[in-house]
Each structure stands twice: as structure tokens, then as C-alpha cells.
């Protein structure tokens, strides 16, 4: 009954939304036009999305990093409690897979780093690169369940990259007059070269490290929050 009523609601909602589609023809608004016109001149970045993400809407991105930080903290908080949990049963890792994974680890990390270093030039950036780095960590976790990440190093990376982002913003404030400003501190450089875009690559590298560390920590805690299974009440 509840399901039927709910379905009717969902369908009507779908109709409402679908009725919008004819009204949503292709068009470019003010912001879009501005960024396509000025994006390159303002920041000397080839990738306009990166310019938007890191510079024009850099404050959003800082918030986004905080969201990721909060959710990984939250997952840790939920899973790593004083009483135990059933852990993931290991997948049987064949020798072939294990060898492949070990072999893939280093190239994956390098590839991830390449993505976030070139975020202002090519598609991709800190978030995508960070995710790739995390998938390298995933490889290790998959083949060796007992392997723990080096917590000390992770903590330092995580803390300093996040703090670095804020600090860069503050430097922008001190030099350029507004938080995360890309003006006046560093030369914007030559378009389409590695050293262009002013602070943008620096910030994206910090984001990459931060995201890579956070996502790795997330995977680690999903795999490893071990302990003895506590009493299961109300077993269905």
C-alpha cells in the first residue's frame, strides 16, 4: 500500500520534472559566457573547469575538501568503536592477482600524481588523481588484508595538505586582497605549460594529496575496522 502510494508520488514527480525538459533548450548564461571568454586570460589555464573549480569557485572546493574530511572522519567514527565488528571476509587472492597488484601499485600512484599535477592542462585534477592514488592503495589492501597503512605518514600528509590549502588561501588574502586569490603572488606563466595558472597547480596538488589520503583512509577503515563480533541482538 505504502509502496503503491509512494510509486504514484514518484511518477507524478517524474512527470513534473519531465515537463521541464522542453523548457531547457541549449543556452549559455552570464557566468558560462564570462568564464569561456575570460577564463584563459584570467588564469592562464587551459582547462576552464579547473579554473572554475580551483580559482573562481575555490571556496566551494575548500568546503568540498572539508566535506570529504568530515565524512571520512564520520566513517571512522562509526566503524572504529571500542566494541568490535565483523570484518570483511578476504577475497581469495590468487598469486597472479597478488603479483599484478604489487606491480600496479607504483605506476598507479605515479599516474594519479600525473593527473593532479596536470589538472590545469588536461582533464582531471586533484579529485580524480586522488581517487587513482586511492585505487593504488586499494590494490594493496585487496591482496594483503593484514597490511595497514602507515598511520603516522598518513596523518601528516592529510593534516598538512589540508592546512596547506587553507594557508594558500590566506596567502592569497594577504597578497591578492581576497581569500584564495590567484593575483599577484605568482606569475601566471605560459599557457598550456606545466608552470602556468599561478597558484592553481599548487592548490590542486594539495587537494590531490588530501583526497588521496582521505580516500585511502576510508578504504583502510572499511577493510580494517576489526574486532570481535559483538552480540547480535534482534537477529532476523
Amino acid at each position: 500500500m505504502k509502496q503503491l502510494i509512494g510509486s504514484v508520488f514518484v511518477l507524478v514527480m517524474g512527470l513534473f520534472l519531465w515537463s521541464l525538459v522542453p523548457l531547457l533548450g541549449p543556452s549559455a548564461g552570464y557566468l558560462s559566457t564570462y568564464f569561456t571568454q575570460h577564463g584563459v586570460a584570467d588564469n592562464h589555464t587551459a582547462n576552464l573547469v579547473t579554473a572554475v573549480v580551483v580559482n573562481y569557485r575555490g571556496f566551494d572546493t575548500l568546503g568540498e575538501v572539508l566535506v570529504l574530511f568530515a565524512s571520512v572522519s564520520g566513517a571512522t567514527f562509526v566503524l572504529r568503536r571500542r566494541d568490535g565488528l565483523p570484518t570483511a571476509q578476504p577475497w581469495p587472492a590468487s598469486e597472479f592477482l597478488a603479483t599484478g597488484a604489487r606491480a600496479l601499485f607504483a605506476p598507479l600512484v605515479v599516474f594519479g600524481a600525473y593527473i593532479f599535477v596536470h589538472g590545469h592542462l588536461t582533464p582531471g585534477g586533484g579529485f580524480q588523481g586522488g581517487a587513482v592514488v586511492a585505487s593504488a592503495v586499494l590494490m594493496l589492501l585487496l591482496v594483503n588484508r593484514d597490511r595497514h597503512l602507515p598511520h603516522g605518514l598518513m596523518t601528516w600528509l592529510e593534516s598538512l595538505s589540508g592546512f596547506g590549502f587553507v594557508l594558500t588561501g590566506l596567502i592569497g588574502l594577504a597578497v591578492g586582497g581576497s581569500f584564495l586569490s590567484n593575483k599577484g603572488l605568482m606569475p601566471l606563466g605560459e599557457w598550456n605549460t606545466l608552470f602556468s595558472g599561478g597558484l592553481i597547480p599548487i592548490i590542486y596538488v594539495l587537494v590531490g594529496i588530501k583526497v588521496g589520503a582521505e580516500l585511502s583512509a576510508l578504504l583502510d577503515v572499511m577493510f580494517h575496522s576489526t574486532g570481535d563480533a559483538d552480540h547480535q541482538e534482534g537477529q532476523a
Binding site: R81, V166, S178, F179
Partner: protein, 1069 residues
């Protein structure tokens, strides 16, 4: 360059940077982490305070850019006064919250502190950002931080609640994302100001349909985030399930953030769509407050309350935008909710999941928490002097000026429902012996106390700044307020010291008032005199009660000051502030009786209703630009009638006229014995004062229908008459002596009401004279009874008897009191009734006059029983050794005896001021004073009272009666033989088992014959009605809260349903 750094963006950079660094900081030690946490919050508070101070003193709002781009290109933030104040509330309360949670993350880890900082950052972002997508990001930050923190502390219920809350939050954030994207597509902007400008320029007609749907998406999303009806299910679970420290943080940060973000987003849409928002908010306010009344879990109850309060604020937002309501009062309401609700939640953290009944006695002997709870409950229910009162007051007056009668009605209804459950909790927590619930750590006691202190100081400061007329208190009121507050704070001060201090203060105030020349010929003067007389006498009597400590005496002084405030007020606001102060101080005093908690709760409900009716009447005045009673003369037509009806109805409920009397007898009976005298003698007269004012300024309440005009004051007079009769009859059937006097008190007020309602000089003379005289004799009788109870330890009349032998003075005073009450010459009772009959006959209201005479006869019956059963007959064995009442009681009684004697022999003392008052309001000639009485020692002029029907000379009557008494007593003494005393045990039983002792007592169920005649009509009819009414309300609440089935999936269906409903509305389907 460094100067650049002093930018409000620091409010984000600082906590974010510290949150990221926290794992490293923690390596230095946990205490360092705690210190850093508090320091960061304090630094943010300080910075915000500094900016807000400048902003409030004329600095232009600070526009903050990010990324180096001015809006609409980059993300812009704004720090104006409103944002600054909101940020201060959030940071301040979060600071207290950090104190509350001090050391609680030991079980989890350091991340809890980082998450707390993230919550504050999220709230600040929601306050300050001017960018729509940025709002989305900050919504997610607060949301995720809340989901994560939910796991702090307790486990199972938090898991369940957190997950359901997350489901709802995720659905809401998808809707918000879609809405934001469509708005961006629609306008090409993400900056709110640019967006608003683009939309204001007008858009293609086809897109306005789209805009309607976007509005739906945004509204549904915020409804879920703000926990509005019907999508508040998971929110309620959160309040019940998670640690109160976390839910308090949620209230102070994210809820306020969503609220203000919603306000900003609303500005994008057409103003007329705001009505939908207001309706949704108001339904939540009334509905959640209704359902909260069925809660037994305090934390869930607080959840309903939060939902309700936020609903009210949401309802107000579109009105603020339309310019119908000012922003400042809404900010006051937000501050009030922030600090009061957080304090209440922290207090609810006492023990694990206590249900209402288990709260019994939890705060007994825990002074700080008891005071905190009381203050927080008073604040959240919107009583003065807390910010909520002033916020609500200003919102309501703003609304009344814009014809928002329905909104006002809904707000008042919801507020009344709020009284029901909050005072229930308060009364449970205050009553009973100390419970064995363990005490919480000091940090958990300090945090709520800090919040309560902010509320008190902030409320007082804000009110004096915003309403200068309140600062204009007379010296006595100010002294009483200060002394009262001081004594309340040292509530455990011993009875001897505190009662002595209180008496000194009262005497001082009397001295000051008399020294300043009390003008008795004004209404204010007359009632000031009445209040001070009653106050002095009660303060004297209280000297002999060892159980009443500082708390009682402090509240008593506060109460006295509020009475003076009411009767001396020249402004509707001052009047109402005094009135509500009187209501809650009186509530707390009643609750101090041994069994006083529940009667006090009932009292509070009726008083709350009365207060809101009065407020409604005052607001009719504000709708027409009138802010005082005297100004109300300008009202005409339906406004006049509306104001008249609301005010009179409120007054009648507060007086306890028949029908609404159910609260009164129990409240009178269960109060501390000394306080009952003041309640009956003075407090019950304050509504009479209001009635005089209303009738004087608003006339007879003429109701014209179909060419007929009916004057409603007839109805009031009849209600007075029926009260007199009904209460007298009910007094007959009481076994409890105090309850007998309680019913009698209400009945006597019936005479006063009838007299005042006649609205003629003679009627006022009757009513007001009787009001003053009633203070004399009723307080006297109640104090005598208090003395008897003090000595015998019982209130049951059949357990007393023959006390004349042990307490002859008390008997003598009681006898005088009874003669005065009975209305027979030579005492003042007769004067009052004689005047009343004259006034009634003068108006030609003969039936009412007959009714009054009949009820006077009934009074004889219960009075006879009172004196006969208590003082005459046989002395109980166990009372052989008891002593006369304590000296303070006797002193107070003698003082009252003096008052009764004065007004009996020399009624002009009261009547000539009353005459002058009546003349000043009503004009015409009232009562005449004539005649000349020649004594051996001189001549007394004007001792004779003359009306158009005849005259009465109390002095002559007194002399004649005294003569007859002496003669007949002497005759009896000489002629009748001595009676033989029979011992109480001179009764033999022939081997039977005797029936229970009370049944063989001759006075048990003494008036059964009358009860057979009247009982069926009288006993319990009104009680039955109100109980049925209450049951009906509870049944509605019970049924409607069934929609919160606990199933997270059902909650999602509600979410979709709300979307469909609002979508259909917006598309005009």
C-alpha cells in the same frame, strides 16, 4: 599586506585550518587539543563580536570576495548585522556546547572535535554566503558533520536515528541540487543578488512554470532539513536517539544556518509564494506542539518542540521579507530558541532516557540545575523577562498592524499548547524527594547554566534597550524586583533570615510608597494600597513558617512587584509584562505546596489561555495604533467589540468564573498555606482591576445583530452571579476546610464581578468595596485556618473539633471573619451586599438581585459548618495539648481585623475613593454620604450611606448590634444553667466493629441533603467538560503522531508526497 588578513574570511580559515591540523595538535596531548578547540571558538566569537559591534554602529555590511573575483563572478560572502548576530549566537552556544561535551570524545577519538568545528564552519557559511551553490556545500558540511557526530556516545538508538536522518537528508540535498541547477539555468547566475536581479527583470512566461517547480524543489528540501511537518520524522528520532550534546549542537548551528539560508533563497522567488511557506511553518508550529503533549520521553518531546519553534520561525520569514514583521524580533526568537533549547537538551542529558514520570525529583536539591531548568522553560514558552517574550510581542504587534489576525491566532494557540508539555516536565522535575539519578559532571552543569544566564541578561538588556517604557519602573517595583531576584538566586537561604529580609523589604516599600503620597482616589492607587496591605500581612504571617526558604520569599517579592507593575502600568506592554510575570511567579509559588505541582500545572494552562486572550485583545488595539487601555476608547464598531470580548474573556478565565473555575479551588487549596491568603486576597483582585479598566474604556460590549443591540456586560454580571451561587453550593460539600474557603473565595469574586459589570457608579462602589473587604476577611480566615493546620497537621474538618478550648483567639477572629463574610450587619459584608442589591435594583436587574440573595443564604450553610466543625463540638484526644497559633499569624490576623473593622465602621474610607474613581470614568453621581452622628466625644460627619433607595448608617448599626449582643449574652449567662461536659470516649459499642472514624463523625458529609438536590447539576460538570476537552486534545495528538511510524521508508514517501502536493500547488493544478 598583513592588514589584509583581518578579514571575516578568517572565521572560516581559522576553524578549518585547525580542524585539519587537529590530528597533529593532538600529538601534543589531549588537554592541548581541548584548549585549542575552546580558544578557536572564543577567538571566533571575539572577532565576530568586534565586527558586529562596528556594524551595529553604522559600519556598512562587509562584502567578502573569494578567489579574487567580485560577485557575480566569484563566490561572495556578506557580514552584516544580522549575519553577525546569528554567528554570535551560534559560536556562543557552540562554545557552551564544547564545555558540555568536554572530554566526551575519549570513547571515540579526536575527530569529534574536528567535526564540532566543521559544524560551526557550516553554520557560518550558511549565514554569510551569497552564493547559491555554496549554500549547498555548507548544507552538506553541516549535514555530514551531524550524521557523523550522531554516533558520539550512545549507540543503538543513535544508529537508527542517524541512518533515517541521513536518508531524509540525502533526498533533501538531491532536491536542493536540482533546484539550484535549474535556477542557474534560468538566470545564468549563482550569486543570489545577481539571480534576484535577473528574476526581477522578468522572465519568459514559459519559464515561470519552471520557476514554480524550482520553488517546490527548494521548499521541500529545506522543509526536510528544517524538520517541518510532515517530513520531520527522522529529525524527531535524532533528538530522541542521539546524545543531547549533539542534538543541542545541531540546534545551535545547522538549524539556524538552514533557517537563514532559506531566508536568503526565498528572496529569489516571487513574494506572494511566501504564503505557502508560512502555512507550512505554522502547521508545523501548532501540530508539533500539539503532538508534543503526548510525549513521555523528554528528549523526543524536545524534538517536537524544536520542530515547532523552527516552524514558527519559518512561517515568519516570508513576513519579514514582505516587510510585515521586523527582522530584530525574529532574531530575538532565534536567540531565545538557540540558548533555551540547548540548555534544555543539556539538562535532559541527566541520566539515560528518563521518561517524564522518572523525572520526579531529579533536580531536588540540585540548585543550579533547578534554576536553569526553570529559566529555560520560562524562556522557551515566551514568558518575560526572556528574549522570547519580547520577540513574540513585537512579532505579534507587527502582525496585528498588518491584519494578520489568523496568524496571531495560530501563534497564540501553538504557544498555549507549548505551555502544556513544558510545565508538565517542570512540575515533574520539581516535585518529590531526591531521586537516585546520578549527578552529571560539573561541565555538564555549567553549560546549561551559562545558556540560561545569557538568556536572562540578554533578555533584560534587550528589553530595556528596545522598550524604554519598561525602564520607567517606579522605585518600589524596582526594589522588589531586585530583592526578589537576589533571594531567588540564594534559594536555600534559611527561612528565618529570608522571611525577615522579605518583610523588611516589603515594609520599606510600604514606607516609600506612603511617604511619596499614595493617591487613593485613582484606580492604580487603590489597588497599590490593596496589594501592599495584603503583601505586608502575608509577609508577617510567613515569619512563622519554617519550610519556606529563600526561593519562596524571593518569588513572593517578584510577585508583589509584578502586581504593582500591572496596576501602575500606563502602557499595554508594561501591563502585559507585569501580568505574565505575575502568572509565572504565582505558578512557582503554588507549585511549592506539598501537593501543589499538578494544580499549579492546571493553573498555568488556564492562566496561559487567559494571558493569550488578553494579549489578543491588546493586539486588536495595536491593529488600530492603540498601545494603552486608555487609548482603547478610540476603538469603534467591530474592533471595539473584538477587543472587549477577548479582554473580558481572558479576565473571566483568570478570575475563575463558573465554567472556567476548575483551576481555582485546587490551586488555592494546594498552595503553601500562607500564600493562599495572598492569592485569594490580592492576586485574584488583579483581574478585577483589569475588568474595571476594560469596562471603563471599552464600554458595555454592545453587540448589534439584525437590528437588536445586546449589551454583553449583562452576560458578565450573570456569570458573576452564577459563580457566586455555584461556588457557594460547591463549598457546602467540601470536607477539606481549605478547599471550602477556596470555593468561597471564587464565589465571593462573583459578587465583585457582578458589581463591576453593572457599570454604574453604585455597582462599582459595591464591587470594589467588596474587593477590598474580601482581602480583609478572607485572608483573615485563611490565616486562621493556616494556624489551625500548622497546629493540627490536617485540613480535614472531621478530624478537628472543639479547638475553641485550645485556640480561643483564633476562634474569635474566625467568628468575626465569618460574620463579615456572611453579609449580615453590623460588618462590612452587609455594606457590600446592600450596595450591590441597590445597584442591581437601580438598573432593574431584579432576577440577578434575587439570585445574589439566594447565594448569600447558601454562604451561611458552609460558614456555619466551618466554625462549628473546627472550633465547636468535642476536642479530639490528640488535640488536647496543642497551642494557640504562632504569634506572627495572630499579628497578621489582628492587622486584618483592623482592616475589616475600619471598612465596616467607616466604609467611606474605601467608598469615597471608589466614588471618585467611578466619577472620573463613568461620570454621574454615585453614592451620597450624609447625616451627622453625635457622640459624647464629638461629631462624625457623613457616616450615613445614601442611595436613591434608602440609607444605611454603619456606625449606628454597630452600636445597636453591640448593645443587643451585650444584653442578650448577659441574659443567657444569667438564666441558662451550666452544661455538663461529656468526654469523647463516653460512647459504648456493643461488640460491633465500629465503622471508619470519619463516617461516624457528625460533621462528615454534613450537607448531604443539599448535595442530593444540587450535586447532580454541580459536582464535576465543569471538571468533566474540561477533562473531556483535554482528552479530546490528547486523542487528536495521539492519532496524529501515529504518522511517525518509525519506518524510514514511510518518511521518504511523505517527502515525495509533500513534493507532489507543493508541485501541484505551484503548477496551479
Amino acid at each position: 599586506m598583513v592588514a589584509n588578513l583581518l578579514d571575516p574570511i578568517l572565521l572560516f580559515a581559522l576553524p578549518m585550518g585547525v580542524a585539519f591540523l587537529l590530528p597533529l595538535i593532538d600529538k601534543l596531548g589531549r588537554s592541548v587539543t581541548h584548549a585549542v578547540h575552546l580558544l578557536v571558538l572564543a577567538a571566533m566569537f571575539g572577532l565576530t563580536g568586534w565586527w558586529t559591534w562596528q556594524l551595529a554602529h553604522g559600519m556598512a555590511p562587509i562584502e567578502i570576495q573569494t578567489g579574487g573575483w567580485a560577485p557575480p563572478i566569484g563566490i561572495a560572502l556578506r557580514l552584516g548585522v544580522t549575519e553577525g548576530l546569528l554567528a554570535l549566537f551560534a559560536q556562543g552556544a557552540a562554545l557552551f556546547g564544547a564545555v558540555y561535551l568536554w572530554g566526551r570524545e575519549e570513547h571515540g577519538d579526536i575527530r569529534a572535535i574536528a567535526l564540532q568545528l566543521a559544524l560551526v564552519v557550516g553554520a557560518l557559511g550558511l549565514f554569510m554566503t551569497r552564493d547559491l551553490f555554496n549554500i549547498f556545500v555548507f548544507v552538506e558540511i553541516t549535514g555530514i558533520a551531524t550524521y557523523a557526530l550522531a554516533m558520539l556516545g550512545r549507540e543503538d538508538s543513535a544508529l537508527e536515528a542517524g541512518f533515517k536522518y541521513m536518508l531524509m537528508g540525502s533526498a533533501a540535498s538531491i532536491f536542493l541540487l536540482l533546484g539550484i541547477a535549474l535556477l542557474y539555468k534560468h538566470t545564468g547566475h549563482l550569486n543570489l543578488d545577481a539571480m534576484q536581479a535577473a528574476l526581477a527583470q522578468g522572465s519568459p512566461a514559459a519559464l515561470s512554470v519552471a520557476l514554480g517547480l524550482v520553488f517546490m524543489l527548494v521548499l521541500v528540501s529545506f522543509a526536510a532539513e528544517l524538520k517541518l511537518f510532515p517530513v520531520n520524522g527522522p529529525g524527531l528520532d535524532m533528538y530522541e536517539g542521539v546524545d543531547p550534546g549533539v542534538s543541542a549542537l545541531m540546534v545551535v548551528t545547522s538549524v539556524n544556518g538552514y533557517l537563514y539560508a532559506f531566508y536568503k533563497v526565498l528572496a529569489v522567488f516571487p513574494a506572494e509564494w511566501g504564503t505557502t511557506v508560512s502555512v507550512l511553518g505554522m502547521v508545523t508550529f501548532v501540530g508539533a506542539n500539539l503532538m508534543a503533549n503526548r510525549q513521555t520521553q523528554v528528549r523526543r518531546m524536545l524534538g517536537y518542540s524544536s520542530s515547532a519553534q523552527v516552524g514558527l520561525l519559518v512561517a515568519l520569514l516570508p513576513m519579514v521579507r514582505a516587510g510585515h514583521v521586523h527582522m530584530l524580533p525574529v532574531l530575538l526568537l532565534i536567540a531565545n530558541h538557540t540558548f533555551a533549547k540547548s540548555a534544555l537538551l543539556w539538562l535532559a542529558g541527566q541520566g539515560e532516557k528518563l521518561s517524564l514520570v522518572e523525572w520526579r525529583g531529579v533536580f531536588s536539591g540540585r540548585t543550579i540545575q533547578r534554576l536553569t531548568l526553570t529559566a529555560a522553560v520560562l524562556a522557551i514558552t515566551g514568558l518575560p523577562p526572556f528574549p522570547g517574550f519580547f520577540g513574540k510581542w513585537e512579532v505579534l504587534t507587527d502582525l496585528s498592524a498588518h491584519g494578520g489576525a489568523w496568524w496571531i491566532g495560530a501563534i497564540l494557540l501553538g504557544s498555549l499548547l507549548e505551555f502544556g508539555y513544558y510545565f508538565k516536565w517542570l512540575h515533574y522535575a520539581h516535585q518529590g524527594e531526591e531521586s537516585d539519578v546520578p549527578q552529571v559532571p560539573v561541565s555538564a552543569q555549567i553549560a546549561p547554566a551559562l545558556s540560561a544566564a545569557v538568556l536572562l541578561v540578554g533578555g533584560l538588556g534587550m528589553s530595556l534597550w528596545r522598550f524604554p517604557e519598561l525602564a520607567n519602573l517606579s522605585l518600589p517595583v524596582a526594589v522588589l524586583l531586585g530583592a526578589g531576584l537576589a533571594l531567588v538566586l540564594v534559594r536555600e537561604l534559611s527561612s528565618v533570615v529570608s522571611s525577615g529580609l522579605a518583610l523588611l523589604v516589603v515594609l520599606g516599600v510600604v514606607g516609600v510608597t506612603v511617604g511619596a503620597g499614595l493617591e487613593l482616589n485613582t484606580l492604580a492607587g487603590l489597588f497599590t494600597a490593596l496589594a501592599l496591605a495584603g503583601g505586608t500581612v502575608t509577609a508577617i504571617a510567613a515569619l512563622s513558617v519554617p519550610t519556606l526558604k529563600g526561593a519562596y520569599h524571593g518569588l513572593f517579592l517578584l510577585l508583589l512587584s509584578s502586581v504593582l507593575m500591572v496596576v501602575q502600568s500606563e502602557h499595554s506592554l508594561t501591563f502585559f509584562v507585569g501580568w505574565e510575570l505575575m502568572t509565572w511567579t504565582s505558578y512557582l509559588l503554588i507549585a511549592q505546596g506539598r501537593e501543589g505541582a499538578r494544580p499549579a500545572w492546571v493553573y498555568m494552562l488556564f492562566s496561559g489561555a487567559a494571558g493569550f486572550l488578553l494579549l489578543g485583545g491588546l493586539l486588536v488595539g495595536y491593529a488600530h495604533g492603540v498601545d494603552s487601555f486608555s487609548g482603547m476608547e478610540a476603538l469603534t464598531g467591530s474592533a471595539q467589540l473584538a477587543a472587549w470580548s477577548l479582554l473580558v474573556l481572558g479576565i473571566l478565565v483568570k478570575i475563575g468564573t463558573v465554567g472556567a473555575h476548575v483551576w481555582a479551588p485546587d490551586a488555592y487549596t494546594e498552595s503553601p498555606d500562607v500564600y493562599t491568603a495572598f492569592l485569594s486576597g490580592v492576586i485574584s483582585k488583579v483581574p478585577v482591576f483589569a475588568l474595571v479598566l476594560v469596562l471603563a474604556h471599552l464600554g458595555t460590549g454592545a453587540l448589534t445583530m439584525g437590528g437588536y443591540t445586546f449589551e454583553l456586560h449583562h452576560l458578565v454580571a450573570w456569570l458573576g452571579g452564577l459563580t457566586a451561587l455555584g461556588m457557594s453550593l460547591l463549598a457546602l460539600f467540601q470536607e477539606d476546610a481549605k478547599k471550602l474557603l477556596a470555593y468561597s473565595s471564587v464565589g465571593q469574586l462573583g459578587y465583585v464581578v457582578a458589581g463591576v459589570a453593572i457599570l454604574s457608579p453604585l455597582g462599582w462602589a459595591a464591587g470594589l468595596y467588596h474587593a477590598v473587604h474580601h482581602l480583609g476577611f478572607k485572608a483573615m480566615l485563611l490565616l486562621v485556618l493556616a494556624g489551625v493546620i500548622h497546629r493540627t497537621g490536617t485540613r480535614k474538618m472531621y478530624e478537628m473539633g472543639g479547638l475553641i478550648a485550645r485556640m480561643p483567639l483564633s476562634f474569635f477572629i474566625a467568628m468575626i471573619g465569618i460574620i463579615a463574610l456572611a453579609g449580615v450587619p453590623p460588618l462590612g459584608g452587609f455594606v457590600g451586599k446592600w450596595l450591590l442589591y441597590n445597584a442591581l435594583v437601580e438598573e432593574g436587574w431584579l432576577f440577578l438581585a434575587a439570585l445574589m440573595m439566594f447565594s448569600s443564604l447558601v454562604a451561611f450553610l458552609y460558614l456555619y459548618r466551618f466554625i462549628h466543625t473546627i472550633f465547636l463540638g468535642q476536642l479530639k484526644t490528640r488535640h488536647r495539648e496543642i497551642k494557640e497559633a504562632p504569634l506572627p499569624y495572630l499579628l497578621a490576623e489582628v492587622a486584618l481585623l483592623g482592616l475589616v473593622g475600619l471598612v465596616s465602621v467607616w466604609p467611606q474610607a474605601v467608598l469615597s475613593p471608589v466614588n471618585a474613581i467611578a466619577h472620573s470614568y463613568l461620570g454621574g453621581r454615585g453614592l451620597g454620604f450624609e447625616g451627622e452622628l453625635v457622640f459624647p466625644g464629638g461629631v462624625v460627619r457623613g457616616s450615613e450611606l445614601v442611595t436613591s433607595f434608602g440609607s444605611y448608617d454603619p456606625v449606628v448599626t454597630m452600636l445597636v448590634v453591640a448593645l443587643v449582643f451585650v444584653l442578650s449574652a448577659g441574659l443567657l449567662w444569667v438564666s441558662v444553667p451550666r452544661a455538663r461536659r461529656v468526654g469523647q470516649l463516653d460512647i459504648a459499642f456493643a461488640g460491633e466493629v465500629p465503622p471508619p472514624p470519619e463516617e461516624i463523625h457528625f460533621a462528615f458529609d454534613f450537607h448531604r441533603p443539599y448535595e442530593r438536590v444540587f450535586g447532580a447539576v454541580l459536582r464535576g460538570q465543569a471538571v468533566k467538560f474540561w477533562r473531556g476537552f483535554g482528552d479530546a486534545v490528547e486523542a487528536i495528538a495521539e492519532t496524529s503522531r501515529g504518522i511517525y511510524s518509525g519506518d524510514g521508508q514511510t518518511y521518504l514517501v511523505y517527502f515525495f508526497g509533500l513534493a507532489v502536493l507543493l508541485g501541484a500547488l505551484q503548477m496551479g493544478l
